[in-house]
């Protein structure tokens, strides 16, 4: 039973890492521009993510090493450093976007512009990490994140054409606007397969003191958690396809996305959207800042742990303090969080191979994994994901130029 309760780690990883400003925006854009046609991208992203998250958890449970620690040990410092630079850059942009998303949700609820929220919101995120424990963050964020189920309610209330929805799960090419279509598809994948999410999950497994007996529980948690996130993203896409596409509304700004649920749930839709975004972005902001701090601490061998008091892991606490502080600055000056979001997703796609390739090696390492090494199914999936990640990396930049 205690093990099953660890499902919160899956949910928080999923709500915070999967359903955040990036995937909501891209899913809404996809639905508004192409109807159900891009559902397959979310499906594909979810499947990839389930496998990668499961492996991250298994690595931690069996080897007691997080991915980052194992990566430094196996690939050496220079490779680690390259990933560190890429990952920090991308995650930092994501953090700006999430903090902006929180500010924007508060703007919807209060009417006070999002730049004003940058400082109070960052302080709150920081305070939770400073004083909170991992369990608090995990359970609190996953519980609050359940509000996002309202997206599914909205989708069902709009009575979508289910056969159309099913057809969208198979990849097809549109008649026109192919570049834009490709760009959104890449963004969806970039928003779904976020490396920081795997770093967070594998560190979470260590924080929650998993051992080998968690291997099968982990499989369930990863599968359930990511499927949950995938469903929510798909619901956002379906709602956007029903509410926006017929009217010709495209999602070029957050203000437009706020209208997402007003058709389906006239009375509460607006507020539910704002609150869902608030909690989801909040969870994601915590998750990203923690992931960055984990990355540094584990890679350099510092002491780390969200349950430790900051003075006991000073460098770990220092990293998240600085990163949150820095992320607030551009928001105070009114940088458009949507632009940052889109850029961060394309950059995620571009740096994806760097994050995924180590998986293939680490998950087959007999020293780390002993008898829990990847089987041929998992290995084939990783190989396919690596191919996908290379394709994404290569096409993300040109697509940004022609389709973005």
């Amino acid at each position: 039973m205690k093990k099953i309760l660890q499902i919160t780690l899956g949910i928080v990883t999923s709500v915070g890492g999967f359903l955040e400003i990036g995937s909501v925006t891209t899913a809404a854009q996809a639905g508004a521009a192409f109807g159900y046609q891009l559902l397959w991208a979310i499906l594909l992203g979810t499947i990839c993510l389930i496998f990668l998250v499961e492996m991250s958890g298994r690595l931690s449970a069996v080897s007691k090493h997080t991915i980052v620690a194992a990566m430094r040990e196996r690939f050496g410092f220079p490779f680690f450093f390259i990933v560190l630079v890429g990952m920090t850059l991308v995650a930092f942009l994501v953090l700006i976007a999430e903090l902006g998303g929180i500010g924007f949700s508060l703007q919807l609820l209060t009417g006070i512009g999002f730049p004003w929220w940058a400082i109070p919101v960052s302080l709150l995120v920081w305070l939770l990490m400073w004083k909170g424990t991992f369990g608090l963050i995990e359970n609190g964020a996953s519980l609050l994140g359940l509000v996002t189920i309202s997206f599914v309610v909205a989708a069902i209330k709009l009575h979508p054409d289910w056969s159309g929805v099913a057809a969208g799960l198979a990849p097809t090419l549109p008649q026109s606007d192919k570049a834009h279509y490709g760009f959104i598809a890449v963004s969806i994948m970039g928003a779904s397969i976020s490396p920081y999410l795997m770093y967070f999950y594998s560190s979470g497994a260590i924080e929650d003191k998993w051992d080998e007996s968690y291997v099968s529980v982990n499989r369930f948690i990863a599968g359930f958690g990511m499927t949950f996130g995938g469903f929510l993203s798909m619901a956002v896409l379906v709602v956007a396809a029903m509410a926006f596409q017929p009217r010709g509304v495209r999602v070029d700004s957050f203000d437009q996305s706020a209208l997402l649920m007003t058709t389906a749930l006239p009375r509460w839709g607006f507020y539910l959207f704002a609150i869902s975004m608030l909690f989801a972005c909040f969870g994601a902001a915590l998750e990203v800042s923690l992931a960055i701090a984990y990355f540094f601490a584990q890679g350099f061998g510092w002491s780390w742990g969200e349950d430790l008091e900051p003075s006991k892991d000073a460098r770990f606490a220092f990293v998240y303090t600085i990163i949150i502080l820095l992320a607030a600055i551009p928001l105070v000056f009114g940088i458009d969080p949507l632009k940052v979001t889109i850029m961060s997703m394309a950059l995620t796609a571009a740096t994806l191979p760097l994050a995924i390739i180590p998986f293939l090696f680490l998950m087959n390492d007999p020293v780390y994994m002993s008898k829990h090494r990847n089987g041929w199914i998992s290995n084939s999936v990783v190989a396919i994901i690596i191919v996908i990640s290379f394709v994404l990396a290569v096409i993300s930049i040109p697509l940004q130029i022609i389709g973005g």
Partner: protein, 124 residues
């Protein structure tokens, strides 16, 4: 034992299981005709940045002069202090005394402990 696979970049923990960095480098003693021996473990930024290239180590040395604990050399821990080489490398030392966690102490002291709610001072 394989040096790169089993030792290099592994995490170091002290007598009290306190994390004190990773094996950033190793010193090998080579004589004209004697068998080479690994004598010391190196811990510290200087060694790490050298692995990236002289440019990086130059930049980091300049930055370290401006800020932080004044330590330019990497910490050298004699191999004789190694207790076990397993998942981590356990050392028969106290992290504090080696200098390997000078930065941790410096940041704790100069930054973290000045922020309210950082927790009690680390005991000896």
């Amino acid at each position: 034992m394989d040096l790169v696979r089993d030792v290099m970049d592994k995490k170091l923990v002290d007598r009290k299981d306190c994390e004190m960095g990773r094996v950033d480098g190793l010193v090998m003693h080579v004589g004209p005709s004697s068998q080479p021996r690994i004598t010391h473990i190196l811990v510290g930024g200087t060694t790490l940045w050298m692995r990236l290239g002289p440019v990086f180590s130059g930049i980091s040395a300049r930055l370290a002069r401006l800020w932080g604990p004044k330590r330019t050399e990497s910490v050298r821990i004699p191999w004789s202090r190694v207790k076990t080489v397993g998942r981590d490398i356990k050392l028969d030392v106290m992290a504090r005394d080696t200098g390997a966690i000078d930065w941790e102490i410096w940041i704790a002291h100069h930054i973290i402990e000045r922020i309210p709610g950082s927790g009690t001072e680390e005991e000896e």
